[in-house]
């Protein structure tokens, strides 16, 4: 999907596509880079053609701090145009984090939601998990009903893409 990150005063539009769960293609400024991605530990290892990059990242509100190559960058995600579906579309989608049963649904298609608003509750492993909107927006589609059993990573609710 297309994204624009702002770092300091500069903006970097990019298209980031998952070729597979472990492989990411980044198109930026007319160049394409394919990176193998290992995120099995605390850190995120990205391996390109030229070298291996060890990174650590955290998010604070709308800033992503990335420790990268000995420096810390503050990336601000500006907007997105929902080009991708599937693995890439997380900001537009609410997926099931684990297998379980939907025990509560608080939104309908066409409804506006705030970022972090609870949209559904999933019961799994005798625990209730609040599912939240990843951003503010309008619900475009609800694929679940109360009582429904869902598998891990199933698409539950979609948000309308931002203009």
């Amino acid at each position: 999907m297309s994204k624009t990150y702002r770092i300091g005063q500069r903006e970097f539009p990019a298209t980031i596509v998952h070729l597979s769960p472990e492989q990411i293609e980044v198109q930026q400024d007319g160049e394409s880079s394919v990176l193998n991605c290992d995120c099995s530990g605390r850190q995120l290892i990205l391996e390109g053609e030229r070298r291996r990059y060890r990174t650590l990242a955290v998010r604070q509100k709308d800033h992503i701090f990335v420790w990268f190559d000995g420096r810390t960058y503050d990336l601000h995600e500006l907007e997105e145009s929902a080009a991708g579906t599937g693995a890439g579309g997380s900001q537009n989608e609410i997926r099931s984090p684990m297998p379980g049963t939907i025990i509560k649904l608080t939104v309908k298609s066409g409804q506006s939601v705030e970022a972090d608003q609870i949209v559904a509750v999933l019961e799994a492993m005798k625990m209730e998990h609040n599912l939240r909107a990843p951003r503010a927006g309008k619900i475009s589609k609800v694929d679940i009903a109360v009582g429904q059993t869902v598998s891990s990573d199933a698409l539950l609710i979609s948000l309308e893409a931002d203009e």
């Binding site: 160049e31 880079s33 955290v58 990268f68 190559d69 990336l75 997380s90 609410i94 972090d116 625990m127």
Partner: protein, 500 residues
């Protein structure tokens, strides 16, 4: 030796003092404000006393509460750290009056040295050079010219009554004196209603070089060499080192002796720092800092001495651990201060929570830190987070080691100038040792964090993208934590998403 110590401070210095005290078998008592309930210094102390609300005036600056806490918890002595009450003679006095030991100089020595005019007088009496100057209350331009020639150009003409740069002129030759003198008088008159002006030697590119001194209560005094602290931003030191490349053995000896003269004359006891401006091989007394300095670890690294242990020894009434001849200097040490500030945004103080922390480790490296993961940096206090100090055989290797350490210092969630410091250390003029207090203004006013390009940039964006995915997945799966902090959500996601 004292057996129990209350540390009237917070952050890295409180932690650092406690570490030495504990090594000496001294029971440590921390004090803390509301904002510091979860602070590192509270955790590592043997006992901790809540002394009030977050604003420093209600906690770390509250003399009564601190002394009450010391009494209640049976502390024999109080260490003030730096900042807060450390240079407050009333505090030193109040501690003594309470029957406790103050780990620092007596109040009268503090007073003698704390006042700019009286300390300059003391310096002059003891043959310690000060920046030459003269007050010209009713002088004429001709008198000013004679005086300026006596002092030597360049000179600074400034309003005696004022500040803020009003009526201030730098004069570089005798021809300019008359015009600048008249202009300075007019400006002084209109700004302050008083046209008296003051002439002072202007030092173009001074270095800031200070000497660590120590006195005991038995009349012994030594110095532990110098620290060069020329790398400053808006009068705040950011990088310090020892030794200074600008000192010859002869100059070091003369400056060290001058430092001891003034400190002895003031009736000083315990650790102190005598600051000088250095112009070529001429040095001028600036002031005395009557406390342990932020940058004391560079001296510890080159001498192998623990200055806090010395402080506690002297405060216990014992003699200095070493004589001047026994103090040895080896190698080179550098310190970088890590403040919570945003180098990409005018170095404004930055608050926030430490979401990820990995401190560097290597031989010859020391990190004096007051933070830990999950700690929210309070907005109430000095924004120093930690200090990275390294030692090597020589300056070149110390710079290399420091750059490597900063590169491997992971601190996420709070902005800190780790990349900026790396670039300062790599600057060719820094590497050559061509420093002055204007170094940062000259070379780093336009600094920007260099960005990766090509594949590296792609990897940076991919890393940010993966973090976003991780957070949104975790947020949708993490019911128990309301708006879970990112490090929590990230951790959860790693378990869930990566199929651990």
């Amino acid at each position: 030796m004292i057996r129990s110590l209350l540390i009237a401070n917070r952050g890295e210095i409180a932690v650092r003092v406690m570490r030495t005290a504990r090594a000496l078998g001294i029971r440590t008592i921390a004090v803390f404000s509301d904002a510091d309930r979860d602070a590192l210094h509270v955790e590592i102390a043997d006992e901790a006393v809540h002394i009030g609300a977050s604003p420093a005036s209600e906690s770390y600056l509250n003399v009564e509460k601190i002394i009450a806490a010391a009494r209640e918890h049976g502390a024999e002595a109080i260490h003030p750290g730096y900042g807060f009450l450390s240079e407050n003679p009333e505090f030193s006095e109040a501690v003594q009056l309470a029957g406790l030991t103050f780990v620092g100089p007596p109040a009268d020595a503090m007073r003698r040295l704390g006042d700019k005019i009286s300390s300059r007088e003391l310096a002059t009496q003891h043959n310690v050079p000060i920046t030459p100057g003269a007050l010209l209350p009713e002088g004429t331009a001709a008198q000013a010219k004679t005086k300026a020639e006596e002092i030597g150009f360049p000179v600074l003409i400034k309003a005696a009554a004022g500040g803020g740069g009003k009526g201030m002129r730098i004069v570089r030759s005798a021809d300019e004196v008359e015009e600048s003198f008249d202009a300075a008088r007019r400006e002084a008159k209109s700004a302050f209603g008083n046209d008296a002006v003051y002439l002072e030697k202007y030092i173009d590119n001074p270095r800031h070089v200070e000497f660590q001194v120590f006195c005991d209560g038995h009349g012994n005094a030594v110095h532990l060499g110098e620290r060069e602290c020329s790398v400053q931003r808006r009068h705040q030191k950011i990088i310090e080192e020892s030794p200074s490349v600008a000192l010859t053995p002869d100059l070091r000896k003369r400056m060290g002796e001058a430092a001891i003269r003034i400190i002895k004359a003031a009736g000083y006891v315990n650790a102190g720092t005598v600051e000088f401006l250095l112009d070529g091989d001429k040095f001028y007394f600036l002031e005395v800092n009557a406390r342990l300095q932020v940058e004391h670890p560079v001296t510890e690294m080159v001498t192998g001495e623990d200055l806090v242990a010395w402080q506690l020894t002297v405060a216990s009434g014992e003699k200095l651990p070493k004589t001047q001849e026994q103090i040895r200097f080896r190698g080179h040490a550098i310190e970088c201060r890590v403040y919570a500030e945003d180098p990409t945004n005018g170095f404004l103080p930055s608050s926030g929570t430490v979401l990820r922390l990995e401190e560097p480790h290597s031989p010859g490296l020391r990190v004096d830190s007051g933070i830990r993961e999950g700690f929210e940096i309070p907005v109430y206090y000095d924004p120093i987070l930690s200090k990275v100090i390294c030692w090597a055989d020589d300056r070149t290797h110390a710079i290399a080691r420091m750059r490597d350490a900063l590169k491997h210092y992971v601190l996420l969630g709070v902005r800190a100038p780790l990349g900026y410091l790396q670039d300062v250390l790599a600057h060719p003029e820094f590497v050559k040792g061509n420093l002055s207090t204007h170094f940062i203004a000259q070379h780093f006013s336009e600094w920007k964090e260099p960005l990766p390009t090509g594949e590296a940039l792609a990897a940076l964006l991919a890393a940010a993208n993966e973090q976003t995915r991780a957070t949104s997945r975790a947020a949708s799966g993490n019911g128990s934590a309301q708006t879970a902090t990112p490090w929590q959500t990230l951790g959860d996601w790693r378990t869930a998403g990566a199929g651990a």
